[in-house]
């Protein structure tokens, strides 16, 4: 049982963006999900990016999440590859 789905905006950056060829897309995700489940879904949708996703983190509405999360409609869900600022 997936439960209710919500439409969210998924953002891609850096190597992931380059590999997928999109900077964002709207996807229907389960309202109750986890960071790893979101990454798995992105990998299934975009197999070319799958090898790069293991070290990625997920941010929801500009904050990192870990484990379970409750998504709201219109949430901003970002796939964050390991950062390299500074």
């Amino acid at each position: 049982m997936l439960g209710p789905m919500v439409r969210v905006r998924v953002l891609y950056f850096a190597a992931i963006r380059e590999r997928i060829g999109l900077d964002q897309e709207d996807l229907d995700l389960p309202e109750r999900t986890t960071d790893r489940a979101v990454l798995a879904l992105v990998g299934t949708r975009h197999p070319a990016a799958a090898p790069l996703l293991a070290p990625c983190r997920i941010a929801v509405d500009q904050a990192f999440i870990r484990g379970e999360v409750a998504l709201r409609t219109g949430a901003e869900v970002a796939v964050i590859p390991p950062v390299s600022g500074g």
Binding site: L11, F13, A15, P55, P82, S84, G85, G86
Partner: protein
């Protein structure tokens, strides 16, 4: 008086004004520590021609604010800090990040400044895209 705390994402290399801590110190501050990150001309044995910093802007500014608050919590509730990170195209010698921290004493100023740059490198959503002299480009993963 509320200490100055400011985090900014700047388009392009940092201007001279971002490299100096201008109005950061309050009368109670006896120590000021600064860190400035500069683009290197080499990385992992390769010659870097130029690079591009990509950024998740809305989140980067928030995380920088959080890191300043965290450093204040860990080192000095009266900490003042200004952090500026440049994004976009840069060349070796350009300043990409500047962190200025003021505190009553040097131990807290050094420690907070160090903590902010180390945490920035873990959590601020900015990515370096390097171009080498053989024309290849690479997105750096982690640093």
């Amino acid at each position: 008086m509320t200490p100055t705390r400011r985090a900014t994402i700047h388009d392009g290399p940092l201007p001279a004004a971002a490299l100096t801590p201008a109005d950061l110190c309050a009368p109670a501050h006896g120590a000021l520590a600064s860190f400035i990150g500069v683009v290197r001309d080499h990385a992992r044995g390769r010659r870097v021609i130029d690079l591009d910093y990509a950024c998740y802007r809305a989140m980067a500014a928030k995380v920088l604010d959080d890191l300043i608050a965290e450093a204040a919590r860990d080192h000095d509730p009266d900490l003042a800090a200004i952090v500026t990170h440049g994004i976009g195209a840069m060349r070796p010698g350009d300043a990409s990040v500047a962190i200025h921290v003021a505190s009553a004493h040097r131990a807290a100023a050094f420690a907070a400044c160090r903590q902010i740059i180390e945490r920035l490198k873990q959590d601020v959503p900015i990515w370096k895209h390097e171009r080498y002299d053989d024309g290849e480009t690479v997105w750096l993963q982690g640093s």
